[in-house]
């Protein structure tokens, strides 16, 4: 299995595609950070705001990237005709998927490490860095990784990588709807329901309660429950999808 993990990392992390994504993300971070820092006279409150915005941008971009990463991993192999050979080896289907999951984890580990210096710069002069990083690794990354795992599950179920990507994007848009709505609009039935259940909304709420309202552990935990549930659901979905993995693919 370790050789397959190496292959996944080479294909998706240290490949031209992977390095290009890391590069693009660093440029983006630098641009954001520069524009924030160049705003003079940052009050402490404004600095909290800046860090929240940066975190939101990081999570939003990462979810999109994670969808692209996850949704091509299996259907891509199916389309290029390499999945059949993998399934013919003595490796179990679950292990084939697991190697891809490790690839995804390494990918996000690198992105999170890239973001650390930027957070260092943005939180400079405050004691927020530890909170921000804890949030990043405990809530932000699990959320992003859940989207990767779900996209991977879709890509296992659905034979076409285009359709798998589409489904993941629809899921992201639905869960992200509350972010675009005003507080009053969120009061309406459907939007309210989505807002309550959406892991994306929950992650934002957690960020606010942790960083701004500085609530205690119990409240933060309750806030983040949808994220943790979402992670659990995506793991279960992926597990079942991997058992059903078929090189012909079925809708």
């Amino acid at each position: 299995m370790s050789s397959l993990i190496k292959k996944e990392i080479r294909e998706h992390v240290f490949s031209r595609k992977g390095v290009w994504i890391f590069f693009a993300i660093s440029i983006l971070f630098s641009g954001l950070t520069y524009s924030f820092i160049s705003v003079k006279e940052l009050s402490l409150l404004a600095q909290v705001e800046v860090n929240m915005t940066f975190m939101k941008a990081l999570i939003g971009i990462s979810i999109l990237v994670s969808i692209i990463l996850g949704s091509t991993m299996v259907s891509g192999e199916r389309e290029q005709g390499t999945l059949e050979s993998l399934l013919l080896t003595p490796l179990s289907k679950v292990k084939i998927i697991l190697s891809k999951v490790v690839g995804i984890l390494v990918f996000w580990l690198i992105i999170s490490v890239i973001s650390i210096p930027y957070f260092y710069a943005l939180t400079y002069g405050t004691n927020m860095l530890l909170t921000i990083l804890s949030y990043l690794y405990l809530i932000g990354l699990p959320l992003v990784i859940s989207f990767s795992l779900l996209s991977l599950a879709f890509s296992t179920w659905i034979s076409s990588s285009k359709n798998a990507t589409l489904l993941s994007i629809v899921l992201f848009l639905v869960t992200a709807i509350p972010m675009f709505l005003s507080t009053t609009m969120k009061k309406s039935g459907f939007a309210h329901l989505v807002d309550l259940l959406s892991p994306v909304s929950a992650s934002m709420l957690t960020l606010k309660d942790w960083l701004v309202n500085r609530l205690g552990f119990f409240f933060i935990f309750m806030d983040s429950l949808p994220v943790l549930c979402f992670l659990a659901i995506s793991i279960i979905c992926l597990f079942y999808a991997s058992k059903k993995m078929d090189f012909l693919g079925g809708e």
């Binding site: 050789s3 390499t82 050979s85």
Partner: protein, 252 residues
């Protein structure tokens, strides 16, 4: 030995691609599996490999049930699928090394085994070029090298010479016969080149619309068809057409 009993595949859309097939391939055979397009050859191979589940019937390979002992069986067999894809970003050597590892070849043996199979398929000089830059013939050779890298005792080749030039076809044929003679590998092969099959196979089966029409040792078949075809020396092609072509002047 491969033994299939009452093998049947009905796809989800209701189409019966393989219909109660019984066949047995003995150790040391080069077994040619013939039939027109859509006869169910690839479907049969996939069931024999355990890649798709039969709707009915069972397969054993070396006395092991393919369905229940899948991991064990997969080490005994090597498969070159019909539409075989490659990781274009790997070199031929890296590709073989990956599969040697996935098949659990002894770590200390991997390096030398990869060199061995590269020699076998005549790709030793081109092993460090990216597969994306290989020609079709080179890909097919690397594919065969992958098929045998873990020293399987039975190999399945689904149209291994498809799209190759005459020299390429000859080369692949001689690799197959050498594997069979020198390494005692049992070969299950499909091809539309009847001449190729009659040159390398000792036994053949002919299928059409999922049903087995004829099976046997090639020389015995030829003897048997002398009378039927009123031909002193019928070729495999004559037999094939007499079985698979619909009666002329029938229901047109």
């Amino acid at each position: 030995m491969i033994k299939a009993t009452n093998l049947t595949k009905q796809y989800d859309n209701g189409f019966v691609a393989v219909d109660s097939l019984n066949l047995q391939v003995n150790k040391g055979d080069i077994y040619g599996f013939l039939g027109p397009n859509g006869a169910g050859k690839t479907t049969t191979i996939r069931m024999l490999n355990g890649l798709i589940e039969p709707s009915d019937g069972s397969v054993t390979i070396e006395e092991k049930e393919v369905k229940s002992e899948n991991a064990l069986v997969s080490k005994l067999i090597g498969v070159l699928p019909e539409s075989h894809g490659y990781y274009n970003w790997m070199t031929g050597r890296e590709y073989l090394k990956l599969f040697a590892e996935l098949y659990g070849v002894d770590k200390k043996r991997i390096k030398s085994r990869v060199e061995e199979v590269l020699e076998w398929v005549g790709m030793a000089g081109k092993a460090d070029i990216l597969i994306g830059q290989y020609s079709r013939g080179m890909r097919q050779r690397i594919g065969i090298a992958k098929t045998i890298v873990h020293e399987p005792s039975i190999i399945f080749l689904d149209e291994p010479t498809l799209g190759l030039d005459p020299q390429g076809q000859k080369d692949i044929q001689s690799i197959i016969t050498r594997l069979n003679q020198e390494q005692n590998v049992t070969v299950f092969i499909t091809s539309h080149l009847l001449k190729e099959i009659s040159e390398i196979c000792n036994r053949v089966a002919i299928v059409k619309q999922g049903k087995l029409l004829e099976e046997g040792y090639l020389d015995e078949l030829i003897k048997g068809y002398r009378l039927v075809l009123r031909n002193e020396n019928p070729t495999l092609e004559d037999i094939f057409f007499s079985l698979t072509t619909d009666e002329v002047g029938g229901s047109i």
